[in-house]
Amino acid sequence: MDAILLQILNGLDKGGAYALIALGLTLVFGTLGVVNFAHGALFMLGAFCAVTVNQLIGLEQVTQDPTQLTPWGTPVEIREPYIVSWLGDTGLLILEYSVPVSILAAIPVMIVIGLVMERGLIQFFYKRPHAEQILVTFGLAIVLQEIIKTLFGANPLPQTPPDALRTAADVGVMFGFEPGQIVYPWWRLVYFLFAALVIGSVFAFLQLTTFGMVVRAGMADRETVGLFGIDIQKRFTVVFGLAAVVAGLAGVMYTPILPPDYHMGMDFLVLSFVVVVVGGMGSLPGAVAAGFLLGILQSFASMTEVKSIFPGIDQIIIYLVAVVILLVRPRGLMGRKGVMEG
């Protein structure tokens, strides 16, 4: 029982990331009708927003203290981040919470990236065949990842969560288990809650605002809504920006769990596509449900007990599930009939 609960918990953070990326993919596909292979790159760019913010606020001022001498007779160098010398303890706090603080920077950055991408490239592909959409965004994904590789190098750059969240929570105790049985890092819990919050906000936005209503109408029947006028175009641009922000935030918060590197976008994209397909192309709840479901399944598959029976199952479980789903229920778990079945 406790083992099962632990695996479910373990799957939640990864599932959250899948769900967030898949949510954006589905939004973009449903409204703009574009299959965006560069969506994973947005996740990666978000993660590197966090890296950049961390590097910027971590910039150090080097002063020499002539009163203290090293054994070699040179003055001792004192390194102090500018932010600490300016803001004192507040600076220290910001430094410590650099990952969550990055969210503030990531939102405008991702909006800009999203808008530039949509206006500069994607909009010209609305009416082109899916194959060409796939190919051009695939090219874009390579370009973005190579740029990041040039700027930040090929090695993963570990980020640290705030000290307070660096430890693990004894979650088991909350559910009445013995202490120490279900221990789960705080940050992963934070990530799950964060993902849930973002997903909730997106859904609330789509359900409660007029804007959201139009977007949902657009997903249900693009042609008809298109008849209402040019206005739709602008809204779709905003949708793309929104999807970019969601993917970016997913990336920012994921950095303490997985040290970001330039190919993380590609890795997550393939899986998120599978998630979208399993959930049902065009279904937002489907994308979210499938994201968590596959995350949890994956964590079960990585249990040693399971792996000893089916070696390597953790590597392929998601793909296997996708294949089975597509064969048994081609439109995915929650997909509407007829969407992209042709």
Partner: protein, 386 residues
């Protein structure tokens, strides 16, 4: 425009010209700095890979994003043939083609139950799965990260039978006493490229090929015309997989080493690029595309700061430094950046590929300014070679 009619005579002519051009590669590639065997082997091998991909994508329109898996399976099979049977390339090639064919049949059987992007994602998922497996559980077969190579103490039954079991130095594929590296290796690959081209022409012009093209333009109509489309598409998928397997096998004939990175999805993307660059659905386009990509890869990867400084030495100092550092992003390690940009540029401006672009150019000059009226790149769907 007067399209060249695809008569039997013209096709024979095309084939003969193609064969001559391929065999003469060492002569005409030398002035371009590409006349050395390693690179020419790559031209031939990736030409085959793209040619096979084109039979699927160019004719039926099914966009597979997992063809690198077949390249990998072909490679592993060939190396195992070397290990078990010996360094003769012929059984290795035959086994590579057959094994890949079976593998492609299984994957195709499942993937072709869906069309459109679903098909692309399914093939991508299968390829990723194969790649992950090759890296992890299948290590006994694939030797994981290190890659699979032929060792001196491998059985190599046939080699031992003919008394060539003991080898000093590294093991090389050998046919009738000729080692399959350098120029003989190139001619070996070129022979397969020419055979592959012949088969490709036959398929393109056959009733079977016509059915495949009909699948691409209107699968629904074809079904209501009394044709069962799935077996046709599956056959095309298997043939195309076998070409990829052949290419994978040849890679190991010229260098008996197989690694999982060959199956990565960037490799699948590369063959798509080769095909559309040259022109999907045309006979020679994909081979030209493959050649151009491999040629550029070779050139661009070889550049470094030094060579760049050499090239831009004529510029004033300040500018030269800036130009070199910008250009430096695109060469050497930065080749992939160039590849990505190339990908985008081709899809945006020339989705029909170079052959299509060339035709349009001829069209425009031939018919005067009027011909270029509808110059939107996106309108031209790739069409089969006439």
């Amino acid at each position: 425009m007067k399209p060249v009619k695809a008569t039997a005579r013209n096709d024979h002519l095309l084939f003969v010209v193609f064969a001559v051009v391929v065999l003469a590669m060492p002569i005409w590639l030398a002035p371009l700095g590409a006349g050395y065997p390693d690179l020419m082997q790559k031209f031939a091998i990736y030409g085959l890979f793209a040619m096979g991909f084109n039979i699927l994508f160019g004719l039926t329109g099914y966009l597979s994003f997992g063809h690198a898996a077949f390249l990998g399976v072909g490679s592993y099979t060939a190396v195992w043939s070397f290990k078990l049977l010996g360094m003769n390339p012929l059984p290795a090639i035959a086994l590579a083609v057959v094994t890949t064919g079976v593998f492609a049949w299984v994957i195709g059987y499942i993937s072709l139950r869906r069309t459109g992007i679903y098909f692309s994602i399914l093939t991508l998922a299968f390829a990723q799965m194969s790649y992950n497996l090759a890296y992890s559980v299948l290590t006994p077969i694939t030797n994981g990260e290190t890659g699979l190579r032929v060792l001196n103490d491998d059985p190599r039954i046939l080699d031992h039978m003919v008394g060539r079991g003991e080898a000093d130095g590294s093991l090389v594929a050998t046919l009738f006493g000729v080692e399959m590296n350098g120029m003989p290796g190139f001619y070996f690959c070129a022979a397969f490229l020419i055979i592959g081209m012949y088969i490709s022409i036959r398929i393109f012009r056959s009733p079977f090929g016509l059915m495949l093209r009909a699948i691409k333009t209107n699968q629904n109509r074809l079904n209501y015309t009394g044709v069962s489309t799935r077996p046709y598409a599956l056959t095309a998928f298997v043939i195309s997989g076998m070409y990829a397997g052949l290419a994978g096998g040849l890679l190991c004939v010229t260098d008996p080493l197989a690694g999982a990175e060959r199956m990565q999805w960037t490799a699948s993307g590369e063959v798509v690029l080769m095909t559309i660059l040259g022109g999907a659905g045309t006979l020679v386009g994909p081979i030209i595309g493959a050649g151009l990509i491999k040629y550029s890869e070779n050139i661009f990867s070889a550049f470094n700061e030094q060579t760049l400084h050499g090239i831009f030495a004529f510029l004033p100092d300040g500018i030269e430094g800036a130009v070199v550092s910008v250009a430096g992003l695109f060469v050497g390690e930065g080749w992939h950046l160039t590849l990505g940009l190339l990908f985008m540029i081709i899809v945006i401006f020339l989705p029909g590929g170079l052959i299509e672009g060339g035709k349009r150019l001829v069209d425009m000059t031939g018919r005067g300014p009027r011909g270029g009226g509808g110059g939107r790149a996106g309108d031209a769907a790739p069409q089969a070679a006439e």
